[in-house]
Symmetry: C2
Subunit: 259 residues, 2 copies
């Protein structure tokens, strides 16, 4: 679409060629250029266009971008930076920087590790949203993989620091659990260059894995996953590591009135 | 800007009048309409424009939209639906529906309750992103309020169901903790109309509170908050309810090498 000339007929008839992306669609009238009413601007239909990406290339971008936009932002940026080049809109105008808030499990509260929320943003835009639909199935697979895998696995081509960064398995999607297990294994505090570089490498690892799943989705046209989401298993929203918080006294889940 | 005519000078010189929003900016050349190279499309600078909103109006929209886009989507939609009308772009083209994944603490994993993630999306776009900056301070205030307040407080003008919906204090930003405390108090399972309506009213309550803080920010030009984020207090990312998971054996946080 870029630099393509549109005929007067395309313009007047409003053919598909004019639907270039998120906003600011323009039409030419006899008198000059009129912008459509703001209310007429439309969002790009979901799912967004995609082209297969190289997971290693994505990972290296995510690694370096962690130092600018932290974990969630880095995963989004790792994926969208290449899609901006390969596709352009609607990726070009997506406000990646606004997602810095995902750091530390949402502004330092230690809930969901931001890397997985960044993956969710990208997966649901690219594979489409909806309960148990493709974007959510990819998100679910990424979270399960995150909890089961000793991370970080990505080793940057141009590392910021050369210290040994151990791998740890979180068993949980929570930043608090994940980062404290790592801090214990590495014998390093939270405000150290090593912990920061661990989170940068973690962002790179998650971005690469997300892209691997997105590439498979793109090739097959659907997500191959028979992994249930936890709410389907437990009749409430939950992680799988119940005893980590509840010990041996895992409470019964109230199922009264369930349909 | 809507329907405003642009002079040839505006078009050729690329004056500010052409910077209409997220994407799809067009220029007229002698030969017809050319679209700018995709790479030239720019995102709307952060923070995004804002106009004060009525929290009750926002809440009612969020309540009803929960039934379409669930918790995180409902908070974003409650706020952005009115901003689409009052401002237009960049709100018009923002992909609200893609955030359904926030439901159930991210696709049913019970981590951060989606309402607060929806609040974070809106607050960081409107008040601006960055560690400890305005958007994060609003997010932090919303989370603290969420954990401390018996919710839901919003009573819809047009409720979907008329059953009694009790209020419960979560003490935690986690969906798992929040919804299970409510299910216990209400004696209702997760897959009940009452639990769903509770989450719809919760979304409405959080959207209204977020807008109250956004209105104050807009009036004062800054966020009045001396609330620290948990990572500043604990030297790791964390919630404040340590003993809920750790009992009396709250582990020491590793601070080795901290700067």
């Amino acid at each position: 679409m870029s630099k393509e000339k549109l005929s007067r007929r395309d313009i007047i008839l409003g053919t598909g060629k004019l639907a270039v992306g998120a906003a600011g669609i323009a039409v030419v009238s006899a008198g000059g250029l009129n912008l459509l009413s703001k209310a007429d601007a439309k969002e790009t239909p979901l799912p967004w266009p995609y082209k297969k990406l190289d997971p290693d290339e994505v990972a290296e971008i995510a690694y370096h971008d962690w130092y600018k936009v932290l974990c969630g932002g880095a995963v989004i940026s790792g994926i969208f930076t290449l899609l901006k080049k390969k596709i352009g809109e609607p990726y070009t105008s997506f406000p990646i920087d606004s997602f810095i808030w995902m750091h530390g499990g949402v502004v330092g509260w230690g809930t969901m590790c931001g890397t997985q929320m960044g993956a969710a943003v990208a997966a649901n835009l690219i594979a489409g949203p909806g309960v148990l639909k493709n974007g959510e199935m990819i998100t679910n697979e990424v979270i399960q993989w995150y909890t089961d895998t000793a991370l970080p696995i990505y080793v940057p081509k141009k590392p910021k620091i050369t210290a040994n960064i151990p791998k740890t398995k979180s068993g949980s999607p929570l930043c608090h659990v994940s980062v404290n297990k790592w801090m214990k294994a590495a014998d390093k505090g939270f405000w150290t260059p090593e912990r920061k570089d661990r989170c940068a490498r973690l962002s790179a690892s998650v971005a690469a894995h997300t892209v691997k799943l997105l590439n498979e989705y793109w090739e097959n046209g659907k997500v191959e996953s028979d992994l249930k989401i936890p709410a389907q298993i437990y009749n409430t929203t939950a992680q799988h590591n119940c005893s980590d918080c509840h010990g041996t006294k895992v409470p019964e889940v109230n199922t009264k009135g369930n349909k």
